[in-house]
């Protein structure tokens, strides 16, 4: 049974039908786009998803990546490498796909952002996923998105 909350560790079962990881990627718009496109291809290759479900998944993970790219490293303090990770794991027994997006910064909202023109990433993630958890600590932020009933 895959521990769907922790990021990649050494003990993953060998029997996954698929995993998809991008670790230590630059937290930038361009890499977010690349990861998203690769992830969409991986989904299409290994899973049987209707167009709505597929679109929902890709948009949800995009929003988590975009938040990391846009907000995680705005504050000047940085010994930390400005990177983000996306780790997807599929549990065939539960037919559940879990995608975890981590950054190692501190989310900051730019002062100039008007409330109305911004801030839809999290509501979108919640509307598009079956389950969302967002954990913030001094070490960074971890967004965990899950979808049930995902078949190969």
């Amino acid at each position: 049974m895959i521990d769907s909350v922790s990021c990649a560790g050494p003990d993953w079962p060998a029997a996954d039908i698929g995993r998809f990881e991008c670790i230590g990627v630059a937290a930038e718009a361009e890499s977010a786009s690349r990861i998203r496109e690769e992830f969409a291809e991986w989904l299409q290759r290994f899973f049987d998803l209707d167009p709505i479900r597929s679109s929902d998944l890709v948009l949800a993970i995009n929003e988590a990546l975009a938040n990391a790219a846009e907000f995680a490293y705005l504050s000047a303090d940085s010994d930390r490498p400005k990177t983000m990770d996306l780790i997807a794991r599929y549990d065939a027994g539960d037919a559940r796909l879990t995608v975890t997006i981590c950054d190692h910064g501190v989310w900051r909202m730019p002062a100039a952002a008007s409330a109305r023109a911004r801030g839809r990433g999290i509501p979108l993630m919640r509307a598009l996923s079956d389950r969302v958890t967002i954990e913030t600590s001094t070490a960074g932020t971890r967004v965990c998105l899950q979808w049930d009933g995902v078949g190969p």
Binding site: A14, A15, D16, I17, G18, R19, F20, E21, C22, G24, V25, A26, A29, E30, S31, A32, S33, R34, I35, R36, E37, E38, W42, F46, P51, I52, S54, S55, D56, V58, L59, N62, E63, A66, A69, E70, S114, R116, A117, R118, R120, G121, P123, L124, A127, L128
Partner: protein, 131 residues
């Protein structure tokens, strides 16, 4: 096993993996139609904003943003729509053409469809603007 480790930071990874967007300005009478295709995300949203700005500089009587050929629309793009809406309405008629899981669905899910009129086709949008 079916594991992929992708060299995302590797510049030789195909540039085709990066999102792109193209925008055209078209006119129907005094209504500006900003026709978008491809991907509207964090990377390309500024391009959309710039194109809308250029259309607005021409002082149209109405503005239609046509997402019929958009394959992917992220919240960054939605933010542009809301900002434009707040700026141009009520003085100018403004609406969006969007249909399908990747455009109209997320716009409806986050309530933007309650703020900005959405139409499934450009014809419907143009009819509505001239009504």
């Amino acid at each position: 096993m079916d594991e992929q480790r992708l060299p995302i930071n590797d510049p030789t990874v195909a540039a085709s993996k990066v999102a792109s967007c193209s925008v055209e300005q078209q006119w129907v009478g005094r209504v500006a139609v900003v026709a978008v295709s491809g991907t509207v995300d964090l990377l390309t949203a500024p391009q959309l904003e710039q194109a809308i700005r250029a259309a607005l500089d021409e002082k149209p009587a109405g503005l239609v943003i046509d997402f019929s050929d958009v394959e992917f629309l992220a919240s960054a793009g939605m933010g542009v729509l809301v900002a434009v809406h707040d700026e141009v309405t009520p003085d100018m008629r403004f609406c969006v053409v969007a249909e399908g899981p990747s455009t109209s669905r997320p716009l409806k899910l986050v309530g933007i469809a309650d703020l900005i009129k959405l139409y499934a086709t450009r014809d419907e949008a143009l009819s509505a603007l001239s009504a």
